[in-house]
Symmetry: C2
Subunit: 284 residues, 2 copies
Amino acid sequence: MTVVLDTILATRRWVARERFAGKLIGFVPTMGAFHEGHLSLIRRARRQCERVVASVFVNPLQFGEGEDFERYPRDFSRDLALAEQEGVDVLFHPAAEEMYPEAQQITIQAGKLGELLCGPARPGHFAGVATVVAKLLNIVQPDRIFFGQKDAQQAVIIERMIAELGFPVQMEVCPTVREADGLAMSSRNAYLRPEERANATVLYRSLCHAATRIREGERDASRIEGEMREMIGAAPGAALDYASVVDRRSLEGVSTIDREVLAAVAVRFGKTRLIDNVIAGPAE
Amino acid sequence: MTVVLDTILATRRWVARERFAGKLIGFVPTMGAFHEGHLSLIRRARRQCERVVASVFVNPLQFGEGEDFERYPRDFSRDLALAEQEGVDVLFHPAAEEMYPEAQQITIQAGKLGELLCGPARPGHFAGVATVVAKLLNIVQPDRIFFGQKDAQQAVIIERMIAELGFPVQMEVCPTVREADGLAMSSRNAYLRPEERANATVLYRSLCHAATRIREGERDASRIEGEMREMIGAAPGAALDYASVVDRRSLEGVSTIDREVLAAVAVRFGKTRLIDNVIAGPAE
């Protein structure tokens, strides 16, 4: 039985009891609209930990003006049914007023890490993410927290936040789960019209191309970026936001690929913005 | 015996053992150069908690360009002797490289609360304070944390940070400890030359004047601010930074004093910047 808790206090109490009983607690923060990506995180937590807490909270702080906060997919009863199936112990599902009873004044800023890649298109986004994750960490106080590699920049920023602010938690970043044709699972895929959905495979195709080129010896990052942009430009309806090869920790551009890099893309189809990434590097 | 620990890991381990043993842990974060103000915090922690951890860390993040980071008073052996006397269990005394092994990218920002009062004179200061306190909270994970009312804006910001980010700790703000002539104790008082030290009593005198005027029925904040400024202006060598009557939680200016307010002043004597404050309000 999955227990649904909608207050911070009840969640703190539940977790305190389990911690006192010595249970290892895993935590999967989500915005709901569960897909196989979320479920893979929950299963990983389930395997590693004795108790699994997941949260479903569409965090207003991480949406900018004109973004899709209002229409972001929400289906809590379906999420709860899936959580039950996967053996989630607690689903923390607070209202926005519970998390932010007053206008939030104190925020966590990601510095330069928040300004690269998706930063220019989503000002304030990563501060909103870091702030809510810090608050969720303080509420749940898990032993381990699980994120998906799909949101690579988020994962880098949260990993850095945990390290730099000393949060007493271990973080796991889990592989991106993909549709059969390679499209990374995302709650936002539901926005795509059929022809957009068909063309959206260009994100992963461009990333696979980049990974192949690197594996085959290409070391010029800008050449690979140019090829990715060309592929994306050739896909009908695709508007490029970025296609970048960057240092996988600092997220800064590299000129020569002499270490592990993150190849990352963001592409718009109509109003829908999709992101994806792969990690690649020269063979040892 | 006070145990001195200089690594995060050793401190986490010490605290984990005590927490596992069910001990209530109090924490007093300081920049060292202990005076009676610090000792009053330690004594309060000692009375309320079964274990007392204090930290001595002159936090570079909270000093601006041209401020007194280099010359800030440091006397760790004296601090340790005083900590012993007061029954501190652990003195956490990390090097800057232990707290910030790389340039800090992730910071906690105080928003508007950090821009009022001391904000304009000390850009970045409260972000530096909030960031280090968050990190210390994550390392020590105390049940209670103790701050002095002397640094009123800091106390408001940290209280708000704890509430808004959900840190699992209870905060106590303890009364300002004063010299016989009213000067608030501060490690920076040591910078004052004898004549500056004598004139520095004007801070508290102006605050007492404000409190008396409010108690006697004056409700016009700007009139009281004017009188405080006049008193400070009449003190030889005193350069006014601000003399303000503000809401004690939002720190925003008030026009009519119809609730509890913070009367706060900042004054420079030569290169030494002093602050002080009192809380005052209309009688019930």
